[in-house]
Symmetry: C2
Subunit: 431 residues, 2 copies
């Protein structure tokens, strides 16, 4: 089985629930799971309604043809050790898993003992943060988002800052508060000052927002002082997750001059649990927006470098029983590609380590129903959203749950990212 | 021996070189070292001209009265495991080490076997980065520095931003490129645009600068969502190092709007190898600047909260054989205290983990000879520094070595931080 064959839309798995699901045999995202009843966290792959235990497959010798086999790389609390091997190992694993899961291959299909122990139903497992994240960077790569925010704060004529079309603007984020989907989000407190107040005050955030983003993890890194070139950048991009960059707009407005967002962002960032490999995404590659002016040579990427990934944001309040969609966007809208972000980030010589997370920035599309934050959807609170319950929202209230999900779809199959969910819980009283 | 007694100026060690040195018995900073000839990195303490191997003392049972003894906490590549125990364990270690190193205590003094193996001469060891740093934050806490930069970029009337006197402004930095003293610093490349150019270009940084800073490490952390109050903050501050926050001024100028410094800072940050405990610094506590307006309650700290730490910056060019001092500053000039920085940082609920580094921002004093960056010392390059060799400097050139050092001095003894040194090496050619 070679890589090209793993994209064959006609592939069928003996796991029947794979066909037509978010996790077909062409997908195979990796995550960290444990059975709810017992056991330690370890690496698994999603297939249909099941998670397949890769540590067990390795123990049974099913990866013995590869030089990374039997090294306990899957019997780990995080994916980092395997990710550090880079995309070649990831591709080898993908090819082997497609072989093993194919309907016409008896090796795993007919191995009753292994099948009984290695497959776990999705509803019987718990997932963990998949990666140990050393450093987290957040970009600002949606032209629509940067323009919307610019219009709100500086007016239409100066919406984009002079540097924006020349480089992917970004800033360093906080790694300690990146949490897995489902983690409750405590409303942050902070110092704010409205334009009408003479002095700032301290209290619970009043303008709590989400930001719809996607992020990618570094596989193999680089040495400090040795930039990753634009042509090599994709070799270092291992896989992707959905990211909710929770944001406290009132804190941000007062604190961010002149060194950028700080407490407005560092209270929480939520990510989806399955890491979708770049190999799974390859069939969904698509041209990105035309870049004008032409980027400088160190950022000039040839070929199609965007990915067609459909994105949804839904909300559920304490008064509703179901999630209601409030935005639909697409990863392909982003002006700057992941490779450009990475080449720029390391152009200074900055070292990337396995597991570092680089997020896109809010992914807003061209129309108001595709905006990736409440700041934009409600235009700074001026146009509240009315939900089916009749409730209105400008920013998030306590008890609101926010869900982001993503998938790629072609005429043959669909691959899902799963979702990242978080419920807002009340601020804690300080002192 | 209680903590108060460890500050007795009359204490004398049987290690005679301790008396009058930068590392007297009242000091006892911790670091990670290995003998140059053999062995693994482990925890050591500086005393006089020697480093004392704490892993060996622990093996010999000299810490058996404490509940952290015999847990291999010193047989580690980093200090984190011991730091995680917080300041109580640090104080117990200090008290015990003062006992063991005192001239009148025979336990170690007369234990010839242990003395032979546990003490290493400073010139026979190599030191390592002392702490595994999860997240790195850089503040902007010197009023003089913020004012100088403000005057240069916005004029005298708007020098300080409106938020500056109300909160310790800070931003997230890059942990992956924090390096130990002595690591060569590759001149970064990056995208820049001068005011006279129509378009940006990419190339080696032309305005490479240092920033004289100090940083503190977190001992015991907090849970996400649970702020550290201003009254508890000092309990979480474990020890300090000298920090050189290397800065690329031309890259910074073009990139930093609106999300703050990014590539201008993330290519390298150098720190000194010895972590000076807060217990050693206690006798040098001093009132800080008067804060007006009075800080909000969550930042309102009682008592003297600055420390009198003398700072020096020296340069050596490829044409000179010795370092020449170009700035003398003091940690006590900082407007915002470490406790205020930490209370502010966690006020959002941001989680601190053992080993996180929080740096002060450039420490500039009130007079031009105390400015902590070339940006200020040469006033944006308008007033070059003339060195003893006759050479002039506006910003750093390839081959320049920059050294920062720090010490506390009272009438009885002096405690030294050691130094943080880095030599600028030429930019690498990209593509």
């Amino acid at each position: 089985m070679n890589l090209q064959e793993t994209w064959n839309p006609k592939l069928v798995s003996f796991i029947e629930s794979a066909q037509g699901s978010d996790f077909p045999i062409q997908h195979l995202p990796l995550g960290i799971f444990k059975p709810q009843m017992d056991g330690n966290y370890r690496v698994g792959v999603a297939i249909g309604h099941f998670v397949l235990d890769l540590a067990m497959l390795d123990d049974f010798g099913l990866f013995d043809e590869y030089n990374w086999a039997r090294k306990k790389l899957f019997n780990r609390l995080k994916l980092n050790r395997f990710m550090a091997l880079g995309r070649k190992a990831s591709q080898e694993l993908r090819c082997r898993l497609v072989e093993l899961l194919s309907a016409d291959n008896p090796d795993l299909r007919d191995h009753q003992e292994l099948r009984t122990h290695a497959f776990h139903r999705m509803e019987d497992i718990t997932m963990s943060l998949p990666v140990e994240i050393g450093d987290y960077t957040d970009f600002y790569s949606s032209k629509e988002h940067a323009t919307n925010v610019g219009i709100m704060f500086r007016g239409k004529d100066n919406a984009l800052q002079p540097n924006w079309l020349h480089l992917p603007v970004g800033y360093h984020g906080r790694a300690s508060t990146i949490v897995k989907s489902g983690t409750p989000i405590v409303r942050p407190s902070g110092q704010t000052k409205s334009d009408t107040e003479e002095n700032p005050s301290f209290g619970a955030c009043r303008l709590l927002d989400f930001e719809l983003e996607m992020g990618f993890f570094i596989g193999s890194g680089n040495k400090m002082g040795e930039p990753i070139s634009i042509n090599d950048a994709e070799d270092h991009i291992w896989g992707m997750v959905v990211v909710n960059d929770w944001s406290a707009r009132d804190i941000q407005k007062w604190e961010y001059v002149p060194l950028g967002p700080f407490l407005a962002k560092n209270f929480a960032t939520s990510i989806s649990p399955w890491v979708v490999t770049m190999e799974a995404l390859e069939p969904f590659r698509t041209p990105g927006p035309v870049q004008n002016p032409k980027p400088l040579a160190y950022l000039d990427q040839q070929g199609a470098h965007a990915f067609d990934i459909k994105l949804d944001v839904s909300i559920k309040t304490s008064q509703s029983e179901t999630f209601e969609s409030i935005s639909s966007s697409n990863f392909k809208y982003l002006y700057w590609s992941m490779a450009q972000q990475l080449a720029h980030h390391t152009s200074s010589g900055c070292e990337m380590r396995t597991g570092d997370l680089l997020a896109s920035g809010t992914i807003s599309g061209p129309t108001p129903d595709s905006y990736g934050s409440l700041l934009e959807l409600t235009w700074r609170g001026a146009s509240p959203i009315t939900l089916k319950t009749g409730e209105q929202r400008t920013f998030l209230k306590d008890g609101d749950s926010l869900r982001m999900s993503a998938f790629c779809q072609n005429e043959n199959y669909r691959i899902g990212f799963g979702e990242v969910v978080g419920e807002i819980v009340p601020a804690v009283h300080v002192q």
